[in-house]
């Protein structure tokens, strides 16, 4: 069995550790790999996976060894270096570990798992080597993506089957587990996971004035805090807040499997960053993406690159484009939202076709494992 070391630095939020944890689980569960996950901020990890202890230097969770990646990284024996070493999102490997990699007789397969982007340049850089003069080792860049010339997206083997089995009874049970009543006829359920967003006050106003009842499930953090500020109310899990057509439920922090259920149970999902963005695509529900904001508005180029691919074969692409752009600060969300939500069944059908296309690319863990085995 091959040994894998995954190094993850939590820069901000939960995207880094969310992706690494999914990858670690998939490699261990589906590829019989021996996986060690090095994480610098265990408290962030524990939010996603409540069984993680925040004060343990070493612990096993679901057959994966979790190591606390401290700044004073210990000396590493050559025998302790894994066969495959992943540096997630271009994080720098610890010097001691890198030195041990260099001393290994058979060099480990060293992979930089990059950020997800739909831009065309990603295809030209996927799997290219990166010779490292300091270590005399060669690293490989591995890009997730949306085409056959990239590494694909993370997706567990049984994810789509589990999603398909999630029927209305399962949805009712899920809502009940959160202390929320089952969905009523005509009611639109919206999950909201976002960064600070200047379009949110206008969107909330549109929801308040909506003809249909809108039930918003606000994730803990920026979503709940902003809605609370807009409504000038304190929002806590277990207590709902109502304003005309709008009802808001503040959610507790959901572990990853429950977050998937939330996406499956809602009519529209607002997602952000990378991990929830990918899960929303597998959920096959209409979704609106807030991309991670970057300097010089580089994120807007990435947003357009994704829209280009995603909407290529969709006749009502402008409806989605307008709403997504407005949600990312380029347009009027007040007029874009009603148009988006009234077309949601067509958008959903398109989402199903899109997910089918993505599924045919293979999934990232398989592609990564296949690449590492060939080295």
């Amino acid at each position: 069995m091959r040994r894998w070391d995954i190094f993850c630095r939590v820069v901000d939020n939960f995207g880094d550790i969310g992706t690494c944890w999914r990858l670690a689980q998939q490699l261990a569960n589906e590829h019989r790999a021996v996986v060690r996950l090095w994480v610098d901020r265990l408290e962030s990890f524990a939010r996603l996976c409540p069984t993680v202890l925040t004060d343990a230097a070493v612990q096993d969770v679901d057959s994966i060894e979790i190591r606390h990646w401290r700044s004073d990284f210990p000396e590493v024996d050559v025998a302790d270096v894994a066969d495959v070493v992943i540096e997630a999102f271009a994080c720098e490997l610890p010097e001691n570990y890198l030195a041990a990699m260099t001393r290994r007789i058979v060099a480990p397969v060293w992979i930089n798992l990059e950020y997800l982007s739909a831009e065309a340049w990603v295809e030209d850089c996927h799997l290219l080597t990166s010779p490292q003069p300091r270590s005399s080792l060669t690293k490989h860049f591995f890009f997730p993506g949306f085409s056959a010339r990239t590494g694909g997206l993370l997706r567990e083997r049984d994810l789509l089957k589990t999603r398909d089995a999630f029927d209305s009874a399962a949805a009712t049970e899920f809502w009940s587990s959160l202390g929320i009543a089952p969905q009523k006829n005509g009611e639109i359920r919206v999950s909201l996971f976002c960064y600070a967003n200047t379009a949110l006050p206008e969107l909330v106003q549109t929801w308040i004035e909506s003809r249909n009842p809108i039930v918003v499930l606000a994730s803990q953090g920026a979503a709940t805090e902003q809605i609370a500020a807009i409504l000038e109310e304190t929002l806590v899990p277990g207590v709902s807040s109502c304003r005309q057509a709008l009802t808001v439920h503040a959610l507790p922090f959901l572990p990853q499997p429950d977050y998937d259920r939330l996406l499956w149970a809602c009519d529209v999902n607002f997602v952000r960053g990378e991990d929830s963005f990918v899960r929303a695509q597998w959920a096959q529900r209409p979704f609106v993406w807030q991309i991670y904001p970057q300097a010089d508005e580089a994120h807007l180029v990435k947003l357009e690159a994704f829209l280009e691919r995603f909407l290529e074969k969709f006749d009502h692409s402008d409806v989605v484009r307008r709403c997504w752009r407005a949600w990312n600060g380029r347009g009027d969300i007040g007029s874009a939202w009603p148009e988006f939500v009234s077309n949601r069944s067509l958008i959903q059908q398109h989402g199903e076709v899109w997910a089918f296309q993505l599924d045919r690319l293979g999934n990232l863990a398989n592609n990564l494992s296949y690449f590492a085995c060939g080295k």
């Binding site: 831009e119 850089c125 010779p131």
Partner: protein, 190 residues
Amino acid sequence: MSVKIAGDITSGNVLIVENQPVVVLTKEYNKSGRNAAVIKVRMKNLMTNRILESVFKADDKLEGVVLEKKNCTYSYFAPPSHVFVDAEFNQYEIDSDVLADVEKYLAPEMTDVCEVTFYEGRPISVVLPRTIVREVEYTEPAARGDTSGKVMKPAILKDTKHELQVSAFVEIGDKIEIDTLSGEFKRRCT
């Protein structure tokens, strides 16, 4: 050796990659996630002439090389090498296969001053002046009346037999200017 930050390298820089000197041909800068960047570099191995493509993080530290360069003139061909001579009449033999892009312009008696680059005392590449003048040995007769320069026809250079496209008004025996970077005809010399 010098340290080169990947984000700062430019075309023409020489680096040591996998213990081999390479010259950077092109560089692409792409913004990745958060505020990181990925640098894609196309390089030529100066020892083997092999082209390779690699990627780096923008803040990767690479090994740069400050190479010795000398002005030389072309002397003669002694298979499989071409011989160049510097101002002190030192002779340098350079393998023909390393000169792939240059060889087609090397002619006996040529007076162009060439820049020869050395790596550890060994000549590894030759750069011709950006513009050189060569004589046309053969081309089809000039097309009557067309002096626009837009209509092109093939021509063969004297000595090297290299073929390139020239304006239709160029005739046998004409001297023409050639851009050595693009390999294209520039103009007919008066």
